[in-house]
Amino acid sequence: MNWNAIQWNNLFDFQLAQDSAWFVLQGLKYTILITIITMVIGLLLGLIVALMRMSSSKILRYPARAYISIIRGTPLLVQLFILYFGLPVIGLNLTPFLAAVIGLSLNVGGYSAETFRGALLAIPKGQWEAAYSINMSYSKALRRIVMPQALRVALPSLANTLLSLVKDTSLLSMITVPEMLYQAKIIGGREFDYLTMYILVAIFYWIVCTILAWVQDRLEDRYGKFTK
């Protein structure tokens, strides 16, 4: 390969990247906002579904299993398309933002349900029994005794879910949410230089995810074990 013959500017145009950085970053607020809302709703949903999935009642267990199976067994992009393009057919018009939040929350819910279930099952039965032996109710035992321990178990996996979620927000460009990739494509199309814009978006995502991974490390140091 002749390195001198490569047109580096065709790969990454620094000037264009610099000029359009601010425009692309306009999309970051959607990334952040949607990530936060979705993570909160998704985790709550995941916890509820996990408890349903572990319940002794079939009426709770079967819908939970079906839900998890559908979410994990179908592509996220297809789920988003169905929500955004399919629901209007039955008379439900969703804004891109709403479709995005619903779609991603359902997705996080499905994955985190399995994480929560695994983490809850990892807590020894003796912890439940000790909680019951001081006469706690099921919900108190869950909240005060089992959940704090399960969260520590689940933390690495939930952090992965969060990183995936951040990156998956790029799919929202397909349903016209003006997040970073959507913004980048606008300029890419106008300037006939998609590659520079894609690389720029990749760099921004990488920075955000690196910061989150750093926070995760700190959290795991702090909460990973039971002594100070």
């Binding site: 029994e129 032996s133 006469n135």
Partner: protein
């Protein structure tokens, strides 16, 4: 009224019957030691008393609460907790809450279940930790404590709920031999303080010393019961004799 009256207690797991209709009465302040071979149903019996296992049939009265059980009859959570509130339990492997300090372990029940104020719970916990000799370890987490210390915290945790009856399931079996003594000393002290207790134990000499009565169980049935000196020196039933002989040989 006796502190505990268990009538015709039957416990089945699937189709295996583990307790075949036990009748047990315990007086207030009495210390009952339950002995018997492995698999005879000692733990199951104890766990039925605080309803960690739901009895299949029979009835249990503790203090002023009575519950009776029938197959397929559902018992409301409220009823379960009313009876369970009369008991405290000490487990073979402690089961302290690992994310809480010794003191927090002891305070958890009084605050979360009884709803007492934090300041009262603190002084209660400190008082109990002094009683079990662990005041200086109050801020330690369970994994910073030895087995014997963990078990003493577990006893304090159970006592913090002021149970009418303390149930102890082989409280020293998981401990290194040199740590057994400190836990037995704590239990001995409780026995003197008039705490009603049911202790499942393999420490026969301790049972003999601390118990008012010995209950020998085999294959889900009470074989023999009586005062320690009677049971240990003049056992009436062959099965009791065999069991004690095997122990004496060890």
């Amino acid at each position: 009224m006796d502190m505990i009256q268990v009538t015709n207690l039957v416990k089945r797991f699937d189709d295996q019957e583990v307790l075949h209709g036990m009748d047990v009465t315990v007086k207030r302040g009495e210390v009952l030691a339950i002995i018997g071979p492995s698999g005879s149903g000692k733990s199951t019996f104890l766990r039925c008393l605080n309803l960690l296992e739901l009895p299949t049939m029979g009835s249990i009265q503790i203090d002023n609460v009575i519950l009776s059980f029938q197959e397929h009859k559902r018992i409301a959570d409220r009823e379960i907790r009313k009876l369970r509130g009369k008991t405290g339990m000490v487990f073979q492997s402690f089961h302290l809450f690992p994310h809480m300090t010794a003191k927090q372990n002891v305070m958890e029940g009084p605050i979360q279940v009884k709803g007492i104020s934090t300041s009262r719970a603190v002084s209660l916990a400190e008082h109990l930790l002094i009683q079990v000799g662990l005041k200086d370890k109050q801020d330690a987490y369970p994994d910073q404590l030895s087995g014997g210390q963990q078990q003493r915290v577990a006893i304090a945790r159970a006592l913090a709920m002021e149970p009418e009856v303390l149930l102890l399931d082989e409280p020293t079996s998981a401990l290194d031999p040199e740590l057994v003594g400190e836990v037995l000393a704590t239990i001995r002290q409780l026995a003197k303080g008039n705490q009603t207790m049911l202790i499942v134990t393999h420490e026969l000499s301790f049972a003999r010393e601390v118990a008012d009565r010995i209950l020998f169980i085999d294959q889900g049935q009470i074989v023999e019961q009586g005062r320690p000196q009677d049971i240990f020196e003049y056992p009436q039933k062959d099965r009791t004799k065999q069991f004690l002989e095997r122990f004496n040989q060890l």
